[in-house]
Symmetry: C4
Subunit: 276 residues, 4 copies
């Protein structure tokens, strides 16, 4: 198992002078039912602040007001509009599905529409209740370069490995079956890929608060949309998430998820600068 | 009567490295009718910024937009959905009921649902109009470790002691009957517990503004969810609330309630650091 | 005509240690139709940040979300609810009516309800379209200690004096008939009272932007609720409004109204400190 | 082709002492359907923060909450209310149409109402999908001093010149036919006017993110409302937009559109100060 360190941030490259927003990907985030709207707002905020070119948030209509009240930089789509959602997903560079999606019948419909419209050349981040529904309803893994971001209980559901038995070898075996990247969120998060297993040696207990995972999912969406190797981009997102939290935790007892996102533009710039 | 001092903040402990959000409690806040939505928003903000692990706000649907527009870190539940509210309350570590709840027939229904679902191992903070309705409608005290947070008029209603007659002995007698912790909010707030009576010697007139009590109720919710002795946690919340206000009042004529909440992460970290 | 100077800020008194929110007044603001919701939000923000004890905003229901999204410290009432509005107005210390109220039939109904419920011991600030409707519909001046805050065109409508003819003597004559305080908003605002006429010698063209008048109306509401002489309090609000703007304009080309409000707590504290 | 430099900022003049909001123009912005509300919010924010006197935003009703939640300084109009929209447009100094407007049947109706009510003495900024609809539906250019703000694909649609063939001579020829100012947004944006072609030599790839164009459209609206030569004002807005972005990009990997707007008051003041 390889320990991640700050060199992974080298994936954050200096943007070429002649850039336009189309160079930095189209990210679509799907989630946020009438109860969990905050989750998709936090995820979309992370995507926007990490520099993705175009960000659209497909969510329950009741969330559109609070979304735009704090993040005018994203577009909104009603995720029950199958025509619009299908089109949106099929046109995306990166799809992030799950934050606050819920797991009722309506959520399943949304998930089915998303999964029916992804394709092999897309990155698809599957988070939260999207993972839970896949296992509960035996929904097949969609087309695309898949990144799962389960916490330990969600990983138990997806992998069939009980939390107590979640060791590296067992996890690697399931990762191989899934043919996906797995970000197993825990104290010292582990990332399983086809070639290597990574461990995150940093982090702070000040991060242990609701919404941190949604923010991470959004960051992975933003990083994979911009930086060409999706595994390296995922690792950099995981590392940056905790590195920012550690910095904030020097003066804060708890770190709020939105603070991680708001710190991204300066953190990413410093990473570029540090390489000289 | 014992005077509180800064040593009570020792209850704010350094978090163990291997923490996850589940270690820091599930807090459910119930309140905020169509008129008083700001009250429950302020309370929930205080709970989130004090570091509680998972925070859900059960309120009138019309408040969900403004809630998530400023606090995506909380989940939302329509408090008229009895099934969802019952489930939510029964699963909580700490329940905070009352901020902006109002006292009409609908508010009584909500209160009845909450009280029917608490249990002995939970902490239940009863604030504002929840206290008023208990006395006006002779609603029995619910199961749980009860913390009342009345101002003097609410205490008159609850205790039957007129404001002019609210002295320590009389208050202690009623506290014993209630078998609850009583935070009597006033200039130099008093806290009545089974074993001891405490007085808060700090505070500032810059705190004398609408919403300060809602913020305190939310802080008590956040502190009792995280720190194991609920009385000590309550005392620490009361002290921190006024200590932060005093600090802000050095440069402000009035302190806004949301500013107290936003100051919590740094204040709590400093408290930990001050102990070396 | 007397020139206002910073000594008028002496009305901002050090709060007594043993204060509670009830000492600092109940202010009710009425305004903000479906189009002009921002106006009443700006006014209410000014009232809250100036330190009023309890602030309620009666406005169109469509404004409740945006109001609470940025100002949870105020309560909300639907201004078409005549029962609630009547009760609210009759219980207030200070009433501010007009910001963004509009002047259609519905606005007239609201204004009539407000005017029918004020009483002699209340301060009533009449602003914007409330002034326009009084003159267009010949609505009589309500009971109370009246403060009009017209700009020059509104003063022309109210006084019958054309802008070109608005000189001190003519204005004083109408002020005497009205038996009210008149804050005539213009470059070097003039304040007409029964005993004296004042001129504001400060101010900046960076203030010349929409919403500044709404903010001033809210500040007058907040100051008169707290400081006992309503004329002195009005003068102090007018002075503070422009003094803060001047300070901000040292580094800003335009000053946004909400920035004035957010500067109030520190400005007011400095005023108290400057007196030693 | 003339290279723009900081001297163009001299158009930002010191405001005369005796100013009132009426001196700084009435700007009406029209755009923001149910999906793209963020675009018109960002545009209106730029207009307000650049110092326009009175700013009204005509948009889908669903955007009114998020608009006022962050920008109380603007008024709101439902853009499907033809009577109100017609009146509003005909009374404006400057009209900005297009940000987030969409291009469906309803959007076309709105555009037709706007175009039917402009007049020769107004400045009309035509952006985004308004350009697309003009070309797709062969809608004639409206009365007024027209400023188009296309990106390269929109310019292809409007001019008939394919992106690969968009050179200065070809663009100048179409500009002459259109008899309008054209701000062709790209790396090193070009501005085509009747007398001269300008190139913007500054800018940063940190600007390459969704919403930057909406912000620029709003700034052009705000600058042309205040500064008498509309071409000079447009050039200054284009320059200021990128100059602010460059400054922010010194410490940020990506610059958020709303950060440009919030920086305007200080940037504009510094421009005035730099001239001594």
């Amino acid at each position: 198992m390889k320990r991640l360190d700050a060199t992974i941030l080298n994936i954050i490259k200096q943007r070429p002078e002649d850039s336009f927003k189309g160079n930095f990907g189209k990210v679509v985030l799907i989630g946020g039912n009438a109860n969990f709207g905050g989750a998709i707002i936090m995820a979309a905020t992370a995507t926007v602040y990490s520099g993705a070119g175009l960000v659209t948030t497909a969510t329950d209509t009741s969330n559109s007001f609070s979304l735009h009240a704090q993040l005018p930089e994203t577009m909104f789509v009603n995720y029950y509009d199958k025509v619009q959602l299908s089109h949106l997903v099929s046109e995306a560079t990166v799809v992030v599905v799950g934050p606050g999606l819920g797991d009722d019948f309506h959520s399943q419909e949304v998930l089915a529409t998303v999964f029916a419209n992804t394709s092999a050349n897309q990155t698809v981040v599957i988070d939260g209740s999207a993972i839970t529904m896949m296992t509960a309803k035996q929904i097949a893994q969609p087309a695309g370069n898949i990144i799962f971001t389960p916490h330990q209980m969600e990983w138990q559901r997806l992998s069939g490995i009980k939390i107590a038995d979640q060791n590296v070898a067992a996890n690697q075996a399931v990762q191989a079956q899934l043919n996906a990247t797995v970000v197993l969120k825990k104290h010292h998060t582990e990332i399983y890929t086809a070639d290597e297993t990574y461990q995150l040696p940093i982090g702070t207990p000040a991060q242990a608060t609701g919404g941190m995972g949604d923010t991470l999912a959004g960051m992975i969406g933003g990083f994979t949309a911009q930086f060409s190797d999706s595994i390296q981009a995922t690792l950099a997102a995981v590392y940056a998430h905790s590195a920012i939290a550690e910095k904030l935790a020097e003066t804060q007892y708890v770190v709020l998820p939105h603070q991680i996102s708001q710190s991204l533009p300066k953190f990413m710039k410093q990473s570029v600068n540090n390489r000289g």
